[in-house]
């Protein structure tokens, strides 16, 4: 058991590869496809289950690295010649994102059961490889390793969109690939600049992210590096004006692809800002802050306005992502303790609610193969369970109190308002919430209420047990975060404090960290 716990991050990250191997060895042919599906689902479920000990043992002193405060550290030499290490660890932020990834990975795979009918083996292989790439990004604390995982996930996602996507899949897939790659190669240059600067100061060749967080880099160099990193992360988030790949990718991707794209992949961008840009380049962040806020706010309002005008449900949800992530970024960049924590929580919330909304769109798409809002109406008469789930997720997305969205948005607004200079930017955030309520409720009204007049819609079956299973964990989490967010926020206090102390030292009272060490 201790061997397992000492290497738990390896197991969590690479476990999906076992599924890949099994699926590749599994016999070909239509009659064996169910076996492939079972393997993928079971592997993904186990992948989620083995990530649970991360929470239960999170405060176990045996797995805390005393020097850095990181948990479950695995550190091996890898490429000595350049000082790159194989360095896995997690802190509170990574913990939540890792669990979100393992959970949504399982849900996305489960939701594909009947949606994917051709090239089944490959589909699940790509999905499991994608899972490895995403988990690696959230665990890597060596910049080189981080970059490797960051790029690795591009290829499977390209294929998921390009093979199983809609009519313009090839365009959407290559656009996704090229946009993200353009950002990542600039990110690589930024990483190299940090690497050489760190060597010139300390004389050590190292990509250690925590070490880089302790550097004090001259402002001008910081600004250049910030710009390089910014392109990498902002394209991934995506922030306005780099968001144009997102609607295409979302609309063309198969349902599960959209779920993962929205819930996890976009979080890699926000995670990059939180983990790297802010703590490594604090002065540059503050220098660029007005611009960053302007872009975030444009994202919030522009995304919401565009979402309101969409006729295609998936596109609507996609643009709502742009808006919601603007919200995350607003909180993250202001970097007051509460706003930053709210921004991070909002990342999780967005994963839950937008992930669920894409599942919802996928469920009615599977029944009628159209995503046009105008083709539906009155579905609540025949699909009561579905109507309930949809409503909960709509309310979660627009920030209804008692649900998760409210907590995140409230914290972001409160945190922004605590800043003496930028407090009025909170107003734009409020505007975004109002617009968000407008387009989401309007969508719900047009699809679910009214007369069920289209004969093609009459025979829709309600959710089956498999579809319901995909929603249950998300609904539980939505209520949990909405009613008792402390469970989650407790993990965030310590890392958030560290970042705030780097970015805006001494300006704000820090969050209370409970030193709860479980024996």
């Amino acid at each position: 058991m201790s061997f397992f716990m000492e290497n738990i991050l390896n197991f969590v990250c690479f476990f999906p590869l076992i599924g890949v191997v099994l699926i590749v060895l599994w016999p070909k042919g239509k009659e064996h496809e169910n076996g492939v599906k079972w393997i993928a689902n079971i592997v993904a479920l186990i992948g989620f289950l083995i990530s649970i000990p991360l929470i239960t043992a999170f405060n176990d002193p045996r797995y805390i690295d005393t020097a850095t405060g990181m948990r479950f550290v695995i550190r091996k030499s890898w490429i000595d010649a350049i000082g790159a290490q194989y360095y896995f660890a997690i802190d509170g932020i990574s913990l939540l994102l890792v669990l979100l990834t393992t959970l949504l990975g399982f849900i996305a795979i489960l939701s594909s059961w009947s949606a994917i009918t051709e090239r089944v083996k490959e589909y699940y292989c790509y999905f499991l490889i994608l899972q490895v790439g995403m988990l690696g990004v959230f665990m890597a604390f060596d910049f080189f390793l981080f970059y490797v995982f960051w790029e690795v996930m591009l290829v499977p996602m390209y294929f998921i969109i390009g093979v199983w996507g809609g009519p313009r899949k090839l365009y959407a897939a290559i656009k996704f690939f090229l946009y993200t790659l353009a950002g990542s190669v600039l990110l690589l240059l930024g990483i190299l600049a940090l690497y050489f600067y760190q060597h010139s100061v300390t004389g050590v060749w190292s990509f250690d992210i925590l070490r880089m967080q302790q550097l004090s880099i001259p402002l001008e160099l910081q600004q250049w590096i910030f710009l390089a990193l910014f392109f990498g992360f902002a394209i991934k988030v995506p922030m306005f004006p780099f968001h144009t790949w997102l609607p295409d990718a979302h609309v063309e991707a198969p349902t599960a692809g959209s779920v993962i794209l929205a819930a996890i992949l976009l979080k890699m961008g926000t995670y990059g800002f939180v983990r790297l840009s802010l703590p490594i380049l604090p002065e540059a962040t503050m220098e660029f802050l007005p611009w960053l806020l302007v872009l975030s706010v444009i994202g919030i309002i522009y995304g919401a306005l565009v979402a309101m005008m969409q006729k295609d449900m998936k596109k609507l949800v996609a643009y709502s992502s742009v808006s919601h992530l603007g919200f995350c970024m607003l909180g993250v960049f202001v970097a007051t303790p509460v706003a930053l924590e709210g921004g991070i929580l909002q990342m999780i919330n967005h994963g839950i609610s937008t992930g669920a909304l894409f599942l919802i769109v996928g469920i009615i798409y599977e029944r009628r193969h159209t995503r046009m809002i105008a083709d539906y109406g009155g579905l609540s008469h025949i699909m009561p369970v579905f109507a309930t789930v949809f409503l909960i997720m709509t309310l979660s997305s627009i920030g209804m109190p008692t649900l998760n969205g409210f907590i995140g948005e409230f914290m972001v607004l409160q945190g922004v308002f605590a800043d003496p200079i930028y407090k009025l930017w909170a107003l734009f955030g409020v505007l975004g919430i109002v617009l968000g309520a407008a387009y989401m409720l309007w969508l719900y009204q047009r699809v679910m209420f009214g007369q069920l007049d289209d004969p093609e819609n009459r025979n829709f079956p309600d959710l089956n047990w498999r579809e319901l299973t995909t929603f249950v964990p998300l609904i539980i989490l939505a209520f949990w975060i909405g009613l008792y967010p402390k469970t989650f926020l407790d993990y965030l206090h310590a890392p958030v404090n560290q970042i705030v102390e780097r970015v805006r030292p001494g300006e704000f009272p820090l969050l209370p960290v409970q030193v709860a060490v479980k024996e």
């Binding site: 290829v155 090839l170 790659l181 353009a182 600049a193």
Partner: protein, 500 residues
């Protein structure tokens, strides 16, 4: 003029000095041997030449292995050396030649041009490359260059019955002869200025001559000629035609080994002789690097013939390797050396898949020929995907490590304090980075054909044991250099240290 010492015992002198050219001698002896026994081999069995060639390459490798730990030092009055830089490149040439020979065997049968001279010429070309890598004197360098060039001219035109191949050879020969002439002119000017043909001696003599017009002229002439050999823009015009017309196996060989050899002398000349007058050429070289990678990529975007597409892509890769030379540091040599090694494996791999598609009566060169390859031969398609991802520089594959190093090399210079060319270096890095994105587009056009389009051409692929071996070796190294690059980095680093 240094006095030429008296040689008392010619045999003794040769025995002492030959250690430094051991691998070359092996190749030449075996190559000549092949030509001598050619008349004994029946017409249907000319493919046996491949076995003799492999024997020669094997013996040369053994020789190289013997001298791996001990450096024989400069020989023949400072003409050639077998320092680590030379050994590193020799290893690369041997690997490329070995893979080329075994991938050629079946291909020549299909083209119906199975002749033993083909294998002999590959050995001669390889020996020429080794002389180039080991040369520390303009004369030996030039002899090596010519030995390699002339052998490759013939090889490019080896498909005698094809108009395309003849045209390619003619074009390559004429332009190549011009460029050699230009290099030679540059060399003669340099000899006039410095009074020596030894690279180190030239380096010492030309210090302080930065403003001398003749030096500038000779430097740029040599640079132009070398840029022709490595296929850098604007001296790249011959590449698409020559690469398209040549036998595909030779195209593969040229794109890795010939290019690497030209880079080896590029490095020798520009580090040893022109290391102290960087100011003259650094800007021009940086511009050439940027233009080369950009133009190669842009031109590749619209190609529908895979051989031409890969030809343009190889132009763009030359631009990336040049980044190491632009940096002009130890790390620069390491970067280019590791780039060339990674490129050898991933590019030979990609070319061998193209050879696989060449079937009786089917050229197998267009994008459509790749359609649906995945559904019929998933393993081949996945290998090709790996080669392309590696060529594009996606981790964790060899091409990524290569790209990482060239970016690191220029950024290191850009960030070092007191560097006058910081912004130039940053530009080179940024242009290189954006070119990575462009290249993905055209590599993925082929990937889309292989994995997403379904109308598969129903002719069986021309598998052969040799080709499978090549695919396995190249695939293995492409992944290995990406995941565990440590030993390869140390080799490249040792090579760079012995150069500077």
């Amino acid at each position: 003029m240094p006095e030429i010492p008296q040689i008392d015992n010619l045999w003794e002198f040769f025995r002492e000095n030959s250690a430094a050219i051991g691998p070359q001698l092996q190749l030449i002896i075996w190559g000549l041997g092949i030509l001598c026994v050619d008349f004994l081999i029946p017409a249907q069995k000319k493919g046996r030449g491949a076995i003799y060639a492999l024997g020669g390459l094997f013996m040369a490798s053994i020789h190289l292995y013997w001298f791996w730990g001990i450096s024989p030092g400069p020989a023949f009055y400072n003409m050639v050396t077998l320092d680590f830089f030379a050994r590193y490149f020799n290893l690369l040439f041997l690997a490329a030649a070995f893979l080329t020979v075994i991938m050629s065997y079946r291909y020549l049968d299909i083209e119906d041009e199975q002749h033993t001279e083909y294998y002999a010429l590959i050995l001669f070309a390889t020996a020429g490359m080794m002389f180039m890598a080991g040369a520390i004197d303009l004369v030996s360098l030039f002899v090596g260059l010519e030995l390699m060039s002339i052998s490759t001219y013939v090889l490019v035109g080896f498909l005698r019955s094809q108009k395309r191949s003849n045209e390619a050879a003619m074009k390559y020969f004429l332009l190549g002869a011009f460029s050699t002439g230009i290099i030679l002119y540059g060399m003669s000017l340099l000899y006039g200025l410095s009074g020596s043909t030894n690279l180190n001696e030239i380096g010492r003599q030309i210090v302080g001559l930065e403003n001398n017009t003749l030096l500038v002229l000779s430097l740029f002439m040599m640079m132009a000629g070398l840029c022709f050999k490595i296929a850098a823009v604007p001296f790249h015009m011959w590449v698409p035609d020559a690469y398209e017309g040549a036998p595909t196996s030779i195209t593969a060989f040229m794109s890795v080994a010939v290019k690497a050899a030209a880079f080896a002398i590029f490095f020798r000349i520009f580090y040893l002789a022109f290391g102290d007058v960087r100011e003259i050429y650094i800007f021009a070289l940086a511009v050439i690097a940027m233009v080369t990678m950009t133009w190669g990529n842009v031109a590749a975007l619209t190609q529908d013939n895979v051989k031409r597409l890969l030809a343009y892509s190889s132009i763009s890769h030359a631009g990336f390797v040049l980044m190491g030379l632009v940096a002009g540091t130890d790390l620069g040599v390491t970067a280019s050396a590791i780039y060339l090694l990674a490129y050898t494996f991933m590019n030979l791999g990609a070319w061998s898949v193209v050879i696989l598609l060449r079937r009786q009566d089917i050229p197998g060169e267009t994008l459509e020929d790749f359609n649906g390859l995945y559904f019929k031969h998933p393993a081949i398609a996945v290998l090709m995907l790996i080669f392309f991802l590696s060529l594009a520089g996606i981790p964790p594959l060899a091409g990524f490590i290569a790209k990482y190093f060239v970016f690191a090399a220029v950024l290191e210079v850009a960030l070092s304090s007191g560097e006058a060319h910081s912004s130039l270096m940053v530009w080179v890095a940024v242009v290189g980075a954006l070119n990575v994105v462009v290249s993905v587009y055209y590599y993925f056009r082929i990937v889309v054909s292989m994995f997403i389009r379904k109308d598969y051409l129903p002719a069986p692929l021309s598998f052969s044991a040799g080709l499978v071996v090549v695919l396995v070796i190249t695939g293995l190294f492409t992944v290995l250099i990406g995941i565990y690059p440590e030993p390869f980095i140390s080799l490249a680093r040792a090579a760079s240290l012995s150069l500077t």
